[in-house]
Symmetry: D2
Subunit: 127 residues, 4 copies
């Protein structure tokens, strides 16, 4: 049995990473559908929040800092009912205590499904 | 094997429903944790989007209309690492073509974990 | 000539203040209308951001801290074309470094025009 | 006396327009400052909402449709205390009933001050 985290349960896999950029793929299946047979908006946002949080974690010293998602906004533009979706996170602002990410989620044809903004707070572990 | 939807995979269960109000409980476990052992912000938002969407579905004639989540904003305020969380959705605005929901997610002690706003669009199936 | 700030230019006046709560009134006139003769959504949000920022300023030691609006989300629900609107800010979360405010803007009949969420960051002046 | 709209009061001037794109400049002065002498976040958002709304108005038949700002999210990243700021709106999604705009506001050196997302609803006047 899978003893992992939400990311593993949902089948999210990272496919590309560079400084301030992260990409992942997520299946559209039982685990991510809502009852009408469409990708659950919450699954899309979970993918987006995973990407932004991991992206920030790669940019800071995790022995000294915690990385915390603080604010998420998501605009859902299209529905998708099968296959996979791709999430692509790019950092917009890299401050000392705050990161802002844009995360676009697209379908297999490259059409924009949802576009998200995640604010991540970098907290010093001592304070 | 569970052939259900995201909601079932995540263990979300509705506990109370009345017009313009919906409540549910969600376990904090492998399915909803992020790697640091805390509830994944994406799980919280998936719970919130589930509540608002179902809440709207209960208010319209689904044979004539589709109910689509359009815009979500979420502010994460506290972390939680075990037990369950409770999501409570209340409708703020019930227009002909748009619903706005506030969804608060609280821990077992009643402390506010996240507070969310979901815009749902009611689309006539014919148009 | 008025040498004041945006708040004065727009005619915003505070009418009530207590800890974690602030209320103001704003005229709907040339200064706040858009070309269709309706209250400009940007005016509503400026009122909301004024209320949340001032509300936070009243809660911290301004000799030691700066108060900075970081993130605003606003849902516009109704239009208004004359008279005044009332903005009412209530604090949802009062952390050491972050405040979250809900600000509701209503018309003279008490109908909800817009509902907003403002995240304010409290920054130590030394750091 | 200026009998105009909020846009005129604030000194917003359009400088460039093409399909799905609009640019404007706004002075940072008494009309747009908050008490600490910094550009009011609400002024930035009013500029952004002006740009997205006008951008949508240019794309639809205004004799048959109304254009209404429905949802705004703004992330404030930097402060500015003098000169002018530039707002640049680009359409992300152009649906039949909904437009989504990204609006970036930058200072004179091209640094990003705030980044905003505006959802505009296109309403048929008859319905």
């Amino acid at each position: 049995m899978n003893k992992g985290t939400m990311m593993e349960w949902m089948g999210i896999e990272f496919t590309e990473a560079k400084e301030g950029y992260l990409k992942a793929v997520m299946p559209v299946d039982n685990r991510t559908l809502q009852p009408m047979g469409l990708l659950h908006g919450g699954a899309t946002i979970a993918l987006a929040e995973t990407l932004g949080s991991f992206g920030s974690a790669l940019l800071v010293d995790l022995e000294k800092n915690d990385v915390v998602g603080q604010q998420m906004t998501a605009n859902h533009l299209r529905s998708v009912c099968e296959g996979v979706v791709y999430g692509e996170a790019e950092i917009i602002h890299r401050g000392k205590t705050t990161h802002l990410w844009n995360i676009d989620v697209k379908d297999e044809k490259g059409r924009l499904i949802s576009t998200c903004r995640l604010t991540v707070v970098i907290k010093n572990k001592k304070s």
